[in-house]
Symmetry: C2
Subunit: 429 residues, 2 copies
């Protein structure tokens, strides 16, 4: 197809008629498709259906060291699970705290502790710092942004590049002592699926920050979530705890991970990883907040996933389900949009999302049209702080949950709406 | 035995010799007994061993309404579990929020929300109120006290009576606008096992408070934990949400409960109950903190406990295990201490604890002696704010975990140490 920008008004007008005809056809189909949230599909979840089967016979409800998981105890988690997450995150078991199912909850609580009590190297609790700021690589994860917004941070957007956040800008921004931290999804970022380069990680680990208590929140949600075995293999992003320590900033990073997209979403396990000094302080407060996390769930996971190899095997099976869905998404985008020059996107090799940039000024309209045709997408703007995409361009897809044929239809609908919105916009101009 | 206070120095001296001989005998036994924490016993926990057995066949992992519990969703909990907790707490399902396993965690988070953001009827976040205070019925639960201490409240002790906290004093203290709330364990208080009278509840519900955003934290941890079917039957303490509303203070109370002493300790379910306005505000923030709680665990519990009757049946079986342990504890106390006039105690009809007041000035010494003889008790003072029992008198027993014969020995050791400490104290005088 010809680039839209090079079309005459007449060409655009007749394209509009053609697209509106298609629109009416889809409208008549009464579709009901949902690409909003990164929910695992039922066949992915079913792989864990026997998570608890025979747990009593297999374990007597006891850890390898003989601790009864049905009772209170082991506040930092089962040694088996600490070791597992240590392998996943390429660190030591002592650096791991195992919580309940939600890593988001652990991020919120970690930031809340900093706000209420301060970090170990803070002069005062962050709640007492007026005008505190937080760096938000964009497009990014709306739930991250909402946590820092709720806790009173000014959210500073930093554009993502193909190697991670724009590091020249980050290094400049962190000179401000009010900038206290930064969100990161280093592997298969939400929503673009970008993997941070080693150089990006190193610059983050060693950069000089105005705040001596600056923190990286390192949400390694998709660290083992590869679609292709030959791409971005485990370990391609460095162990950030080690890297920060190497550059003399050992306190700088909190890592997070979960099994929400490995076992059960919302009913799996989550962990935090940090160095000893941060851990000691965190555990002191967490020990007041609760007695322990759900250890029966940890025990069941330790049987299902005795080591990193078991995780890798499971993730290959997930990839077999997800890969065709991602490839279908990308194929339809190419088939329908190549040459129009109105959209661009990054083609992820893992994670849970695809993010498309439509013609600036048309994202909201595109999402609204999709909704009208029965295709639910994440609200336009959601991938930006305060839900405000200044270019009104970015739209996130979550192709994990729907069936393949539904994804085909949903992305067809999306491309139609993106094109029609673009044509309308260009005709207005 | 003769009252110690009436003994002559000579009598005390020869009693001391006798007790020290016994002490040496116990010392030689190399005991290793633990009465510190309210841990359910293995045979109690075993009643829930099949919690997850056949869950897939029974439910297909779906709620009655068809929601897949393996995926994200239902942020306030399964309707089945909300209904169950509503029956337990004698309120409506809409008033229930189901969390993960720890009610302590929910109390901490609820208070943290008040501190960080304020209650719906607050002028400002509680962190901004210098000299904020919290009422602590004493003896009480050390983990409660530590939560409010950590969040910067001055802890104000209020003595417990046989009908609950000293209400004359409470009504006086709450006139202070800096007093923002109060801990309560209304049914089988930790550690005395006292049940609040209806009058106490009514006075708490209707009292005039200086702070318009005053909150009762109503930890109904033992609401169904009866040792005797004919005592303190369900409903003996009024529905506090209804009572507060009746007296025009609908926002006043947050209730909490859990299945930690019904199913698995630390791996069960916990809930918060409050009125609609408090709930709406809480859910808004909790929805930023996490996506949902562990629903697979909720689903398993809904199968095991379809209604309050199932809970009551289970609690009868627990009582069959716990009752002899409590009765053994009380019997040894009577056998060994009656007439000495150095100790007194309340005889609980439920809950998880027995609390003994030894001769003032001897609790620490008694606990240290017990430790020397291999019997671990909760540290003396732990039942008071800041771990400071001004009379050095209260000691908490948790007779749930050890076997009956061990409890016999442990309480024998305790009474010996209490007597020897008292004799030493009286000889010093």
């Amino acid at each position: 197809m010809k680039a839209f920008a090079e079309m005459s008004k007449e060409e655009l007008g007749s394209l509009k008629v053609e697209l509106e005809k298609k629109y009416a056809e889809y409208k008549a189909m009464n579709l009901n498709l949902n690409m909003m949230r990164g929910n695992p599909a039922p066949d992915q979840l079913a792989m864990s259906n026997d998570l608890f089967e025979g747990l009593e016979e297999k374990t007597g409800f006891k850890t390898k060291a003989g601790v009864d998981c049905r009772n209170y105890g082991l506040p930092t988690g089962l040694p088996e699970i600490k070791e597992l997450f240590a392998q996943i995150l390429d660190t030591e078991a002592d650096n791991i705290f195992v919580g309940n199912a939600s890593s988001l909850n652990m991020m919120f609580d970690t930031l809340m502790r900093a706000c209420a009590f301060g970090e170990i190297d803070s002069d005062k609790p962050w709640f007492q710092i007026e005008g505190r700021k937080w760096l938000c690589p964009t497009p990014g994860y709306d739930r991250h942004f909402k946590v820092t917004e709720k806790l009173g941070f000014e959210l500073i957007p930093v554009p993502m590049t193909s190697t991670g956040p724009d590091m020249d800008l980050v290094e400049e921004l962190v000179k401000d002592p009010k900038v206290l931290g930064m969100w990161n999804i280093p592997v298969y970022s939400n929503p673009d699926g970008i993997v941070y380069s080693v150089e990006t990680c190193e610059r983050l680990a060693k950069m000089k920050t105005g705040a001596k208590d600056f923190r990286l929140f390192w949400d390694n949600a998709y660290v083992v979530h590869h679609l292709y075995e030959d791409e971005a293999t485990h370990g391609s992003v460095p162990d950030m705890l080690g890297l920060c320590a190497k550059f003399g900033n050992a306190n700088r990073v909190y890592e997070f991970a979960s099994t929400s997209k490995i076992s059960f979403a919302g009913s799996g396990l989550a962990c935090m990883a940090c160095n000893k000094d941060n851990m000691d302080a965190a555990v002191k407060t967490i020990g007041i907040q609760a007695i322990c996390s759900n250890k029966v769930n940890q025990l069941a996971h330790s049987v299902m996933f005795p080591d990193l190899n078991a995780i890798k095997e499971r993730m290959k099976k997930h990839a077999d389900i997800l890969r065709p869905k991602f490839e279908m998404t990308i194929k339809v985008l190419h088939d329908e949009l190549d040459g129009t020059d109105i959209c661009h996107w990054h083609e992820p090799k893992g994670g849970f999302f695809v993010s498309v940039f439509v013609l600036p000024g048309t994202a909201k309209n595109t999402v609204a049209m999709c909704k009208d045709l029965g295709v639910a997408l994440t609200p336009a703007g959601a991938t930006y702080p305060y839900g405000n995409d200044p270019k009104d361009s970015n739209i996130r897809f979550a192709p994990s949950f729907p069936a393949l044929e539904d994804i085909n239809k949903a992305v067809q609908v999306f491309t139609l709406c993106a094109k029609l919105s673009a044509v309308n916009k260009l005709l207005e101009a």
